[in-house]
Structure formats: C-alpha cells, structure tokens
C-alpha cells in the first residue's frame, strides 16, 4: 500500500502539512508516540515505555520477544504498510521504507529565522528560549536517526522532495505533495465534501469552565491584569525532539509575572498537573507558577460571596 513519509524540522510546519495530507488522503497518520504505543501496547513496563519515548539507543535493546525493539517495530510497521495506506511522521521512516515501491519521502524545512519566529509564536517563548528549543530539537532529530539507522536525516538524497515553507504555505506544500502522488498514480484525492471546515477564531475568550470565568471575575474585581492561557511550556519531548507534553497555565498575572493554573478537578488530574508544574519549574527557572487548588478556590468564592468585610483572601 502507498506510504508518505515526512521528515521535518521543528517550526517547519511539517506537522501541519502531515495533518493536512491525512485529511486530504484519508490515510492513517502515525508519529513517534503513536508508533511506540501501537507496537508496544502490551508486554513492556511503564519504565520501558518511557525509555522508548525518550531514548533512541533504547530501541537497540532486546525486547521481551527476543528481537530488538527497533526490529520489532520495523516488522510491525512493514506488516501494517501491507494492509493500510500510511503517512509516517518522523522516526526515520524514510530509511525504513527507502526501497518501498509505493513510498514517497519528503522533507519539510524552513529558514532558521522563520522557524524561530514560528516557535516563539507557538509557545509564546522568548528569543532565547525558542532558539534553545530549536537547537535541542534539531540535535535530537539528527541523533535519533543517526543512532538507529546510521544516516543523517538532513541528507537531501534520502528524499524525493524537499519543501521549504519559508516560501510555501501549508496548502501549497500539500498541493505539491498531492500532485506528486497523483503523477506517480499512488492515490486519488478524496472528494471535496469530505474535507473538514476550518473554524475561524472570533477573538473572544472562551473559558473551559465556569470556575475559570469566576476566577477571572475575582481577578477583575481586584483590578489585577490577567491574560488567559498566553503561553505554552513544552515539558516533555520524544527522542526525536518533538514536543510530547506541554503545559498551558490558565492565567498569567501581568503585574506580578505569575502564572496560575486553576484546578477544580479530581485528585488524579491534580497529581498530573503537579507533575507538569514541577517540570516547568525545572525547565524554566525563574518562572513563577502556582496551582489554585479546589479547596482554595472554594474558599475564595465563599469569602467573596459574603456581604460585609472581605476578610483576607
């Protein structure tokens, strides 16, 4: 069955192009995380699963079935490719399927300054942070493919096509890829009506729940300037340098340079949030970030719903 492999730089719009192609083609899109969870769904410990998401070298270890993790994954992927049309994002899949008759390999790149601007915007990051994120992602991408397959993922000879999104939009890149697939008679485009509509943002703040709206009101009545989810902090990356876990605190208090995450949820979600919060503090030193727990939030509401002196919230 046909395969489209997409290798991309961080900030190159590679993910967006992959999703656009999946939408147009109706093919299954698999990235690093989905591949490891699909082919190692059972029989491995959480620790091993974590290592598979973090370390390229770990894939060279012997799995419980007697073959290395990478052999196990390649075998499963080849089998899947016989049954389904696939879009494979990252993971060195351009090497795994280098000689596949129906595979098209594409690399998505963009100039450094454009990637920097995109990452700054996407994660609301400073120049310095965005630059570090890009450096780290580039190093990890290249190291991952080099460790497992002994090739340089930036080597253009691995690809049918290298697309520069410094000049091409997501739509233009997708059109180009679609045209190539059509020329090679690899596919037929899905009918137009199957495409999902693009929803335009109207600029209004839509809080996720009533508690957030109420908390915003409490801040307003104290004349505390706030922004809603203004920044996303990536906190975990896979072995290829792709962000796999990020944290977007609900509120940013401008005058106090403090991020607040409101939680009115069950304890198990709170534990997860606490973990993210610790990671943000480790990875972004100097960032003031706090969780407003359910109990504290209720105390606030109680105090401000009383008539008379406000007490000391």
């Amino acid at each position: 069955m046909p395969i489209l492999t997409i290798s991309r730089q961080m900030g190159s719009l590679g993910d967006e192009i992959a999703h656009e192609m999946a939408r147009r083609l109706g093919w299954d899109l698999l990235d690093h995380t989905q591949l490891t969870s699909r082919f190692f769904a059972e029989g491995i410990t959480e620790r091993e699963r974590h290592s598979l998401s973090e370390s390229a070298r770990f894939f060279l270890n012997v799995a419980p079935d007697g073959q290395t993790y990478i052999d196990h994954l390649e075998r499963g992927l080849n089998q899947l490719a016989e049954e389904k049309s696939l879009i494979l994002l990252g993971f060195g899949s351009q090497v795994i399927f280098a000689d596949h008759d129906e595979a098209v390999h594409v690399r998505i790149t963009a100039p450094a300054d454009i990637r920097l601007e995109r990452v700054k915007k996407q994660f609301n990051a400073t120049d310095e942070n965005a630059s570090q994120m890009l450096d780290q992602a580039d190093r990890r991408h290249r190291r991952f493919v080099a460790t497992l397959f002994g090739v340089d993922s930036a080597d253009e000879s691995l690809y049918h096509l290298v697309l520069n999104t410094g000049f091409l939009s997501v739509t233009e890149a997708a059109e180009t890829l679609t045209a190539l697939l059509n020329i090679r008679k690899i596919r037929q485009e899905q009918p137009e009506q199957s495409k999902k509509p693009v929803q335009a943002a109207n600029g209004k703040i839509h809080f996720k729940n009533k508690s957030e709206a109420e908390f915003a009101r409490i801040l307003d009545m104290h004349q505390i300037e706030w922004k809603y989810e203004p920044r996303t902090f990536p906190v975990e990356w896979d072995a290829e340098g792709n962000v796999t876990l990020a944290f977007s605190p609900d509120f940013y208090l401008v005058q106090f340079d403090t991020y607040l995450e409101l939680t009115t949820m069950n304890q198990r979600y709170v534990t997860e949030k606490n973990k993210k919060l610790r990671r943000v503090r480790e990875l972004y030193p100097g960032t003031h970030i706090k969780i407003v727990y359910k109990r504290d939030f209720q105390t606030l509401i109680e105090r401000f719903s009383h008539i008379g002196t406000a007490g000391q919230p």
């Binding site: 109420e214 009101r217 409490i218 009545m221 104290h222 706090k290 401000f304 008379g308 002196t309 919230p313």
Partner: protein, 185 residues
C-alpha cells in the same frame, strides 16, 4: 479567656502562637521598622478589622513619630455571579501624598486583597508603599506581593485570635489558635 465556649462558634484545636511569642516578634519588627524609616514621614495603614491588635502593638513598638490610619474592604453582592464586588468601604482620612506608607495586615493568604490595596495606595503618589504582615501563608499565596516585614510563616488555614475571627467572633483572644474546622458551630 474562654477557649471556644458554647457561644463562640468555633472549637480551638491548639494554640499556635502564644501571647509572649507574638509580643516578642512584634518588638523585633518594631525595632527593624524604626531603623528602616528613621527620619522619614511614616504612615501606618491598618486593614480592618483583622489588623486591629497588631496595629496597636506594632505602632507602639516603633520608636519614632508616625501617623495611623485604617482602611476597610468590603464585598457587595452581585446578583448575576457567585462572587460580589470588592469595594473600599472605609477609606483613608490622612493624605499620604509624598509619605512612606506601611500597610499593616494580620495575615496574607492569597495576596489578592493586599495586591489590590498596594496598587490603590501607590496610585495616590505615596513616596513608598510596603507591606507588613504578622502572618504569611506561602502555600496559599497566589500573588507575589512583596512583603517587607513578616512576623511568622504559617501553614494552618483555620485560625482565630489576635484580630482574626470566625464569624466575627474570637478576635479578642490575645493569642492565635488553630481551630477545629469540624468543630465549627
């Protein structure tokens, strides 16, 4: 002093800060403030009602001329929301323009009220606005209000005494106690 009699509306679990412990710390704070504000025109602004006793004792531990004033913040109900609207219900009588203001709090929990008051006082062209709180609960603090002087760091949530109340009662206890939340009446 009765520790939570039938009319108190609370039951004391334990004494957190004894009378002498509070007074000793206030003397230390008073000496520090005296040094820091030597020769400056100082206005202590107490936030009612919680700071009443702390304000009285601290002001007498400061060995220099100063002015005293009070503010009260109130919440008025709002029919369309759970929360009401915060208002200053008792404003300052003295003019603080060009003067050094020390905001006196009994306790800072989230820091929301303090942040509001600090912003409000700064807008009145005071020479400086700093905060002095007898108690600070860092676990509950949401806003990094700079606190120039603090008496004690605490972790307990339910407190009464030395100005702090439970349902307007217990302010006149000379010590600070932790109450049994389940024992509230």
């Amino acid at each position: 002093m009765s520790e939570g009699n039938n009319n108190a509306g609370y039951k004391i679990r334990q004494t957190l800060l004894a009378v002498q412990t509070i007074q000793n710390r206030i003397q230390e704070l008073g000496q520090q403030i005296t040094q820091d504000y030597a020769g400056q025109e100082l206005v202590l602004v107490g936030v009612l009602k919680g700071s009443l006793y702390f304000m009285a004792d601290l002001s007498r531990a400061i060995d220099q001329p100063l002015m005293l004033d009070f503010m009260t913040i109130g919440t008025i109900p709002n029919t369309t929301n759970q929360t009401g609207i915060v208002r200053i219900t008792k404003d300052l009588d003295v003019d603080i323009t060009g003067k050094h203001v020390l905001l006196i709090e009994d306790i800072i929990r989230t820091g929301l009220t303090t942040a509001y008051l600090v912003q409000n006082l700064k807008a009145r062209q005071a020479a400086s606005v700093k905060v002095c709180s007898l108690l600070v609960n860092p676990d509950q603090q949401l806003i990094n209000v700079p606190i120039a002087y603090s008496g004690f760091e605490i972790t307990q949530t339910w407190l009464v005494g030395y100005g702090m109340d439970i349902g307007e009662k217990g302010r006149n206890l000379p010590y600070i106690a932790e109450i049994d939340r389940n024992g509230r009446t």
